[in-house]
């Protein structure tokens, strides 16, 4: 994090930071304060610190020294509850859940902390030598499938033939073979690795607010891993290539990046859409497919009530003909390509304006106009408010955001900052239940732990929210009633219990609860944690507590 000053009071010294109130526990302590702009936000600094516990601050750099904190430092009524409320709201509603670090260091600075996260437009990028571009991934997957087919092996498409070919091989041998094939299949190995990189990023990031924005936009422009192997291999790359570079940039850029990303073109079938009157169309074969055109209008830009007709859908589909993905055997296989010979010739009206540009320029111009359409501004604003709020509409805020969207030509950094500065979002009570993915990353942040790729994929499948795998192009439902389901809640508990059995040994749960929630932890939960019969039980209860599960 930029611009944090560090004050290190000498043992026994009287710290006199402007505006800082001293709690008695400070005296005689060797403590580290991470803070900034004391003079601006003087309130409520020092809730923490107990003389009775000593522990190395997790994740602190060299020189941080031993630090004391713990549950006794929670002086109800002594810290400023408003400040604490803001901290919790910042960490949970705007962030991805508290980590022991953040919870303590942003007290009194919650909004600045969030705003600062928007300063670096590249903060969301995942730079890791293990990642590959979507074109390379596509080639490796299709290549794998071809090889498998040549070997007569089993894959999704030939599953039905397996029984016949298997002959007298034992079921066990077949199962092992399938397992092996799966291990080598990029659709699974890449998916696992991308999942791990994403969760690691969220757990370790200094900018969890930006990660929440990434989650939002990746879902807005989702391609679903449940669709097929070739989409599954590309879902992580789609987020890295189309979403993350633009998350604090311009909506228009993100829309363009998404609409021409191979994952999207394949997922919503535009990759094979050809104009009936194009050169290729005249020769027969494939023709128009309106799937991508419809979903861009309905889901990505205008919204279903945004004022378009079936004719607009068909015309937009014509406009987008030729936007495709190069065949895997081509040296540039897997990259975006505009097939001129597939493009429907002619000029087409869309939303009352006629597009007569050459070839691909038609689609570029149409997307440009969609990106700055007032319906798009409204649609995006409404979705953002629902996502960051508790799901109930806040018309005044939506209107402000929509206006800002229009005024800034869809500048997402401005939009993101405006969300942070919207008092409405700080005032709504925390009532949303975390989604399974949010629960997993919140557990990761709380425990300073990155689950492995296998664990992420398996657990999220079992909890009903496969990573990058919403059931439809509309993405995951954004309301907690979706997840507020009887047996699903018990399944969460079973997962939390399993995590607890693996990780409880290294954790003092009461200290952790205090570091995460401070006075926001209800007496009742605090008591239950104290009385738990084992560390494992205590940790499972903490992860399942309403304080943890509600946002």
């Amino acid at each position: 994090m930029p611009s944090r000053s560090v004050a290190r009071p000498a043992p026994g010294s009287d710290i006199s930071l402007p505006g800082a109130r001293l709690l008695p526990e400070w005296v005689g302590m060797n403590a580290v304060l991470f803070c900034h702009s004391w003079s601006v936000q003087p309130a409520g600094v020092i809730y923490r610190a107990c003389p009775d516990r000593t522990r190395q601050r997790p994740g602190a750099g060299p020189g941080a020294g031993p630090e004391r904190w713990g549950r006794n430092c929670r002086r109800r009524g002594e810290g400023d509850p408003m400040v604490r409320h803001e901290t919790i709201t910042a960490l949970k509603r705007f962030g991805m859940g508290p980590s022991a670090n953040d919870a303590l260091t942003i007290d009194g600075h919650a909004r600045e902390w969030l705003l600062q996260q928007c300063d670096d437009p590249d903060v969301a990028l995942i730079e890791d030598s293990r990642t590959q571009g979507s074109d390379a991934l596509y080639r490796s997957f299709i290549g794998f499938r071809q090889m498998e087919r040549e070997q007569g092996g089993r894959d999704d498409a030939t599953a039905g033939m397996q029984g016949k070919q298997a002959g007298d091989r034992s079921a066990e041998a077949q199962r092992m073979e399938r397992k092996l094939a799966r291990a080598n299949n990029p659709a699974f190995s890449v998916y696992r690795q991308e999942a791990e990189l994403r969760v690691a990023k969220v757990v370790r990031t200094p900018a969890p607010f930006v990660e929440r924005l990434v989650t939002f936009w990746a879902d807005h422009f989702c391609v679903s891993a449940q669709h097929s192997g070739r989409i599954r291999v590309l879902t992580g790359a789609n987020e890295r290539e189309a979403i993350r570079p633009n998350v604090l940039g311009s909506f228009r850029e993100m829309l363009h990046a998404s609409a021409r990303h191979p994952a999207m073109l394949l997922y919503l079938e535009n990759a094979r859409s050809r104009g009936p009157n194009s050169v290729a169309g005249q020769r027969g074969g494939n023709g128009l497919n309106e799937n991508l055109a419809r979903e861009i209008l309905e889901l990505h830009t205008l919204g279903v009530d945004g004022g378009y007709s079936q004719d607009d859908v068909t015309n937009f589909a014509r406009i987008l003909t030729g936007w495709s993905v190069r065949k895997f055997k081509h040296p540039l296989g897997g990259q975006f390509v505009f097939h001129k010979n597939w493009h429907e010739p002619g000029a087409f009206p869309l939303l009352g304006k006629t597009y007569d540009q050459d070839g691909m320029e038609k689609g570029v111009a149409a997307l440009d106009d969609l990106a700055r359409h007032p319906s798009t501004a409204r649609h995006v604003a409404d979705k953002l408010v629902a996502y960051f709020g508790n799901g109930t509409p806040i018309p005044a805020l939506s209107k402000r955001l929509a206006t800002l969207f229009m005024d800034t030509d869809g500048d997402l950094m401005s939009m993101s900052r405006a969300l942070v500065l919207a008092d409405e979002l700080w005032e709504q009570p925390a009532s949303k239940l975390l989604s399974p993915y949010e629960m997993m990353v919140a557990a990761g942040r709380a425990l300073d732990w990155v689950p492995g790729g296998n664990e992420i994929v398996r657990a999220l499948n079992l909890l009903g929210q496969p990573i990058w795998g919403p059931p439809s192009p509309a993405g995951w439902p954004d309301d907690s009633t979706t997840w507020l389901a009887a047996d699903a809640l018990l399944e969460r508990l079973d997962w939390a219990d399993q995590i607890a059995s693996e990780r409880a040994e290294a954790v003092d749960v009461r200290q952790l609860a205090d570091a995460l929630f401070g006075p926001a932890l209800t007496d009742y939960t605090a008591q239950a944690l104290r009385r738990a019969e084992s560390r494992q039980q205590a940790l499972a209860l903490l992860l399942m507590s309403p304080e943890f599960q509600r946002r």
Binding site: L288, A485, A486
Partner: protein, 410 residues
């Protein structure tokens, strides 16, 4: 990863959810001596009704559907009457039809006339005339309108899937059920968590208590594992296996003496934009899966089949013409199934509009001539004894003009 959890994931991937309601009153004024069961299955994605039940007797059919008909693939459908033939991938349904236990409503649709899946599903499930009017579903509101008879004790219910679909959301308590995956947390941990919820978050407490009741009812993980293993032996196709498990679990629960009486779940994957191939492709596989699900349901529910009605619906149909990718796009008119021993079946109910260009809706889709709500109303009224007034006002708002179809039930 164990084989078991793979199975479970398949269940979740294919079946959005299965929800059964019962706080369980028997339904008081159903047909005499009947203890009615009602299950609604939503096919998500827009079922191609024309390829499922082909209007082979329509003079325009072969022309408008060139490239998609079963005849072109050299396959003969199961004849239903002079006009219609059933896709042969559905032999179980064919048998039920022949026995008078399956009814097909063709050229039907909800009041929705645009082509968004999501709005169309909203209308189908909410029972409203416009999307996003309420957050509750018509099945849930129907339950609130039922005159309760004796309570079935203990109060039990279940569901498949981690989410509750809109059709079952609402005031009447609904439970969902998720096939077991992780190992169970200890009973003590469960009780302590429930205790925290009771003091801190009553909503979570209620939901969790329901889940615990549900666990009791289904007899624990072992019974479920057995069902899943059995389904695995019966089909190679993962999706079909999923559908079969859904049918088995739902059937088992609904057939139980103390089980739920009302349920809903959905089967995804019907959005056939590409390579639809009703004879041997994606749609064929889906129909085969659906038929297996019906078979599993029928087997599990034999003892109560005479008291049972199963409604199978989808948000809309698909375009009459094939698109450029040998699939079809979102269209309006489609079909619905009503099956079960309580159904007066063996008929295709349809005011067939024809397939000439002029007869199509917007020159594109099968023209709907039967309001789907009149079918749903007919079933709810005659099977569950829901009043016409509740049907017109609260269950399907603004639907006074849509009359319940008579004579759907035995």
């Amino acid at each position: 990863m164990t084989g078991f959890s793979v199975n479970r994931r398949e269940v979740l991937a294919g079946v959005g959810s299965l929800v059964a309601w019962t706080q369980v009153p028997r339904i008081a004024h159903a047909a005499p001596g009947r203890d009615p069961r009602l299950l609604t299955i939503v096919l998500r994605g827009g079922l191609d009704g024309l390829s499922t039940v082909e209007p082979v007797g329509d003079p325009d059919y072969a022309r408008v559907r060139a490239g998609l008909t079963l005849a072109e693939a050299g396959i003969k459908g199961i004849p239903l009457d002079s006009l219609f033939a059933l896709n042969p991938k559905m032999p179980t349904l064919g048998k039920l039809y022949a026995r008078g236990e399956a009814l097909i409503v063709h050229a039907t649709a909800t009041p929705y006339r645009a082509r968004s899946h999501f709005d169309a599903q909203d209308i189908l499930e909410s029972g409203n005339v416009r999307p996003k009017l309420t957050g509750s579903g018509w099945m849930n509101r129907a339950l609130q309108a039922v005159t309760p008879g004796d309570a079935v004790e203990p109060q039990k219910a279940f569901a498949i899937g981690a989410q509750v679909p809109l059709i079952m959301k609402g005031k009447a308590p609904v439970l969902n059920w998720v096939p077991p995956g992780f190992s169970d947390a200890s009973p003590d941990t469960k009780m302590r968590l429930l205790d925290i919820y009771r003091h801190v978050d009553p909503q979570l407490a209620d939901v969790m208590q329901e889940g615990l009741d549900l666990d009791d009812m289904l007899g624990g993980e072992a019974a479920v594992t057995k069902t899943m293993r059995k389904a695995r032996g019966m089909t190679e196709n993962a999706r079909a296996r999923t559908f079969r498990v859904a049918g088995s679990v739902a059937g088992k629960a609904l057939a139980g003496a103390n089980g739920p009486r009302i349920g809903a779940f959905d089967l995804t994957g019907w959005d056939t934009h590409v390579a639809e191939r009703p004879a041997n492709g994606r749609l064929a596989q889906l129909l085969e899966g659906l038929d297996g699900m019906i078979d599993a349901l029928h087997q599990e529910m034999r003892p109560v089949w005479a008291d049972t009605a199963v409604i199978i619906v989808t948000e809309f149909g698909r375009t009459v013409a094939m698109n450029g990718n040998k699939g079809t796009d979102h269209g309006t008119g489609t079909l619905a199934f009503v099956l079960g021993g309580a159904v007066r079946g063996g008929r295709v109910v349809s005011d067939w509009p024809g397939l000439s260009r002029k007869a199509l809706f917007e020159e594109r889709d099968l023209m709907p001539t039967t309001d789907l709500r009149s079918v749903l109303k007919g079933v709810l009224r005659d099977h569950l004894d829901v009043s016409e007034r509740a049907l017109a006002e609260t269950i399907f708002p603004e639907s006074r003009a849509v009359r319940a179809l008579d004579g759907l039930m035995v």
